[in-house]
Symmetry: D2
Subunit: 459 residues, 4 copies
């Protein structure tokens, strides 16, 4: 099966060119100008951009949380991702407390295998650092699960103390794995949250105010310093606060291998969105949405590469039936927002259309940098030999985000009614057209597990 | 009883003047020039300085630690202090784990009462933050124990987790107490220390290397940020590392009420002193001595008021019979150094004689700032109405520090053989001459417990 | 003549005490409690504070500027100062361009001698750095003119280029003089100002907008770095912008001997005050008033000692007849504000009453630090042997600032209608009551020229 | 003419792939795997890398300086460049003082036209900012000379004062040109240099010590701030000192569009190289070589993208006959070093081989970033449609740098005897092989003037 994509403008992270692209089987076989070749299928991309399929390195399909599950399955979630131009996700397998990493990883393989519509990898959440668990890390790295997440938040659930985090970092320094950190001071936050509820402040808004940005900054510095002493790189997930960004900047200015992602919700939404009574539950995630002035700093961080990646932390719960578990106590609202489908367009609109950065930097943030940082050399670029994950992107199409039209399995959208410019017209996953003309052409189970390499060049 | 001190140069923190000082009873009654008054006793201070009696806000007399006790009693320790020009100490009472603050405070009152030779106050170490303990804090503040120490180090012993520290800080924000922090990341340090011992690195030197200055910087930032969120000031004890000073500076530059002390051992000694086999045990304290380049930064901090106080952390253990408990494992070496007798002269020598700062700043660091920060308005100044704690100081006298001549009850000196310029000739404690001509003239039990005020003006 | 001041509370920079003060002749002779002595005159200071007479290190009496003269003479200006609690000023003698320092200094001596009502010293403005001028500096230092001001602003008038400034700094490093800098990038500012006028923006408001705070930050860093290379301390005058403060902080954090003053106009007024048409001319000074958010940073700087002094830059021009020289072009508005009479009360109100800092810090900022930094050991303290410059200050008296009641010879007040708490009741200058009950008791010509020492301990 | 390069590994800034590249005429026509196509010539690149031809944005061919001329002509210099893998240079045309930009530009066109062996562009040095010169800038931008250099150094020669620099920046903000700055405080430096010579310190070593790195930091901050106020981006040339890098970092952290290059001499050489009597003249350039500890900071800056480009500042003078003009006075040594031939290999060796950064980052620093920042969209990438400037690079070849083998027309090498790993095997300039097997295959005059676009996306 050969597909020829003609007349598009190829946008890679480092260059832009007018070129035709020939896909042969699952890979990109040829790039040239005015290619005149036989092909089973020809796609005319005149006036369109060709970008490498986007990579979302932070999703939680079917995550159990607070007595319920994130609503999107690997099937519905990866299909929605593809509609939004994302052809690879890296989801988080969870070690059961007291159990082994293997046990958690296998459970996640079972969820994804035969269901995912696009390619996927796994990070491993370590819930319980023990000697045997540290040993297990080495094996996982060897089999392509090369990154591990720990938490300074959620005491009693995912929380690890500093000694445990430090030991995992030391191990990663030896086995080449990458430690990812949820960095908020959960112990102090839980004190404040408890005081708020005790004072009758049970609305979702207090979720936001009880998690001070100062405490995200604190934990960010803490894990960076633990990594410094351990001699390991560290990657901060879902960075939301100016204070945390300042710490990442400070570390990077000093030459430390500290990396961070932010998410669209921290760029486009703010604490004020949480203010409308229980409606605010739609926006409950951790770290929480911040006062509006934080966002501009985050954009600056994206421009300057102090933030290297934009992921979604996609973790959708229905407003009706799930979020309302916390109607009387914001602490019981399941944490998480839908977003896997919207990231590419939001970033295009807020970044490229608004003139904050170039199309190339956009591609870098949503695809190339994720590929590089998470060991996926065949992804993140439109180049000969790379997987033919290609999005024919219309940079001019205007459309409105809405739960009534999105493909995620969740009953609301955080961006309801927001008009954005830019959208994926045709999406190829390893050479197969999966989305076209707003229709689903892919198939459940076509996505493959990606054995990732160790992160390289983490300078 | 009236004592007239004639012809001295009065050195206060803000000014220098030639003046005669009349002590009437326990207080300073009159300051004038060429006073010609009847007095029971006249001291000629020609060519000498009169400075307010120094205040050491960090001592551990008779502290139980690692199965033994700091050797100096309140009697021997305060007498040695007086010989060195220090006429007030603030020692740390310790809450027994599981017990009450009151219980610990009373135990310390029993140790000091009737024994101390100069005035003393207490800080309270909180070992165990519970609701009832938080309530107790309020009462202690009211009765003059207005500062509380917690630890991010020593897991299983003094360690409190961030939630506990945060709650204590919140309480102090309400009751006006001041939280003092031992800031090192003890959880990570204990991992490293265990690894060192497992690797056969049992010498005292590894005590120094296993406690990274980066981890002091980390914990310093952490407690400053917890205090920021709690709305409380915070005081960092025995700051030793450049990284920690940088965090204090950063906080102060941003207008946060963060304060810190350092100690002579971090100014005059270094990690290299720990290198000589088990001799290094003489220098085992926490934080440990640092590589030599840290000291110059600390001096800078003293000049610029990023460090406000020099205390000693006096906690002496005999080399023979106590320090050697850790001969096979540096973790078992009792932590602590003698120093209460040497601080004033060392700082005079290293600060004033070397031209780093003025005599006035010296007085501020060793006496006036401690008085202000710890609620002792009648101490720290030679002024009318103040307690007549006065040192007739000879800025030109050279002498050699040695265990063979010092008055502390410990079998070695950290500064053995070091020659310093400057020494106390006559020392008055509340109007009574306690040291004169190198002889002890004071009396056991003459020291009084100081009910301290709340720290004021902690900007 | 002996004056006994009874029952007051003595506020020095380092301590507060209840004490009686005996003045004998021109000096403070005795400080005690409940002094019962014969005196020619007794002042009852019950409920009042005794503070050392304030020192204003930045005034411009009779300064020629833009074709006119600052209105206050040494007589009227120092009398107004005394009413406001200021008993010492340091004014700026100006080297005529092409002439000698000596020539300028003598001219200023002639203005002050026999006219000044309180003590005064001189800084020397260097308009024209030449080899012979550098040589003259040494002599001036020896005769008590120990500080020199240069400008990066006012091209063609006071401006010196970086080479000239650097040479003067090198000389000061040798002769112990202190270089004071007006730090704004005048060359760039003049470009902007010219463009504004060319665009028809001639209102005083554009004076404010054409002098970017970024350009004050720039010049501040520049002169600090020149001083660093020259091995000299440097003192920034009338610091107004957050950016400039950041540079001073950065330098001080690195241990450089950089110092700075700010002025009440930058703490209490803002750019918005300049907006009301030509009324804005009342507030034209350089650096200009800044947007309101700068002031809070300056207050922080005062609390943290990144700013060591508050002076006035007193340089009054009548609104009618002088300021209106610039009615058609803001560049022709004489630069300068009246303020010598208001500083002490404004700082008391904004600093002490508002709880930003202690009364002691207030005294330090307005009196003790100026005395220490500018070589006046007999000023700045209420201590035995010091000059009897004493203010009996009522910290509770409320009054309203107004041109209709002030004593400065200028037809408007920048603070018209502002109510402040605190005021000088009785003012002594070298033992003589000069202000009492709102009446002038002093005499023209009683003020003496102060031969200042070299600044000491400029760490 | 079609050339097929087979079996190489294509290294672009964003990705690495195994691919064959077909060059058709002057451009890259096709990229594919195992291309089996007819071609006039086939190059086997097995085991080699294909990198985009390197771009050196800072050269001075035939520059008049101090009474002599930089020795390399456009012919010899571009040929040497090509031997070293550099296929594009941007040289500096110089406005004659008092003359027009046009006049200078035409003179440089005459030097290059018909002589250059590879493609070249021009920056314009503005010696004399006048209204008519500002107007000329617009025209030059339109015709492809889109960058302008000014100097804070060299008073009396290239120096512009801050007002002039600011005006040029304002103009560039409007016309889209990019201002490049030589940032050293030349006025202060000249004072020091004069003092050194007066003290008999005439050796080249004193060139190094008389130009303090603090004064480079100062000027760097200054021009960044002028650009900030002007609303223009700014590019710092030949950044050499840690202090200057700190300023660039600070600006970038704050979101300002500040950019900088460094040069191999600052990465591989140090002040110590200047110490050997007059031999040191070989290393006289401005800014000077710095103490060795600066280099590691510069490498960090390259890793973190605080430095975006490595250029050479190639400006060769023979040691015998040119450098010796300054035998009696270091100020008369012509400033400049040879290097255009060595940059690519040195950076490969010090960056890639030493593991500091990836091959992709190396390509970005020497080719892609220069292309992007200086408006050359057809250069800097191996991509379809791009100019066929391709280097077949052998990453394993070891060779020794020496004047006896280099192709630059200068009688010494700064890197004499240094062994490096990596070298260009075959070099194509717009499709033509110009270097192969160590032999020159190109032709004088084949290089074309590049009309550059405005710099885009200068975030």
């Amino acid at each position: 099966m050969r597909t020829l994509i003609k007349n598009g403008t190829v946008i890679n992270a480092d260059a832009t060119s007018r070129a035709d692209v020939l896909v042969d089987g699952e890979q990109i076989a040829l790039i040239g100008q005015e290619l005149d070749l036989g092909a089973d299928r020809t796609i005319d991309a005149s006036g369109k951009w060709l970008i490498p399929g986007a990579i979302d390195v932070h999703t939680h399909m079917e995550l159990p949380f607070g007595g319920t599950f994130a609503k999107d399955t690997f099937e519905s979630g990866t299909r929605a991702a593809a509609f939004g131009g994302t052809t690879t996700i890296i989801d988080f397998a969870v070690q059961p407390r007291g159990g082994s990493l293997r046990e958690g990883l296998e459970a996640w393989h079972r969820k994804a295998d035969g269901n995912a519509c696009v390619d996927y990898g796994f990070h491993m959440i370590i819930s319980d650092v023990r000697d045997d668990v540290l040993d297990e890390m080495d094996g996982l790295v060897d089999e392509g699960v090369t990154s591990f997440k720990l938490f300074t938040a959620y005491p009693g659930v995912f929380f690890s103390d500093d000694g445990a985090i430090f030991r995992a970092m030391q191990r990663s320094a030896r086995n080449g794995g990458l430690i990812m950190m949820h960095a908020e001071n959960g112990l102090a936050i839980d004190v404040v949250a408890g005081q708020e509820v005790a004072a009758g402040h049970t609305d979702p808004y207090y979720h936001g105010t009880s998690r001070s940005p100062v405490l995200e900054g604190e934990a960010t510095n803490r894990v960076i310093r633990l990594a410094e002493v351990a001699g390991a790189p560290v990657y901060i997930v879902h960075l939301s606060a100016r204070q945390a960004l300042d710490e990442v900047r400070r570390a990077r200015d000093a030459g430390l291998p500290a990396f961070a992602e932010t998410c669209p919700q921290y760029l486009f939404l703010s604490l004020e969105d949480m203010g409308n009574g229980f409606e605010g539950a739609k926006f409950v995630c951790s770290p929480p949405l911040r006062p509006a002035d934080h966002a501009e700093e985050l954009w600056k961080g994206l421009v300057r590469d102090d933030l290297q990646v934009v992921s979604t932390d996609h973790c959708p719960f229905d407003f009706h039936g799930q979020k309302d578990l916390g109607r009387d106590d914001f602490r019981k609202v399941p944490n998480g927002l839908p977003g896997v489908e919207n990231r590419v367009d939001l970033l295009h609109d807020g970044g490229v259309v608004r003139g904050r950065f170039s199309p190339n930097r956009w591609v870098e943030l949503i695809s190339s940098a994720p590929a590089r940082l998470f060991g996926l050399p065949r992804k993140g670029v439109i180049g000969v030999g790379a997987d033919a994950d290609i999005v024919v992107y219309d940079p001019a199409r205007r459309h409105t985000i809405s739960a009534s039209t999105h493909h995620m399995d969740v009953d609301y959208s955080c961006y309801e009614g927001r008009e954005v410019t830019g959208g994926a017209d045709v999406v190829l996953s390893r050479g197969t057209v999966v989305v076209e003309g707003g229709e689903w052409r892919g198939s459940k189970g076509a996505g493959r597990f990606l054995r990732r390499e160790r992160s390289a060049n983490l300078h």
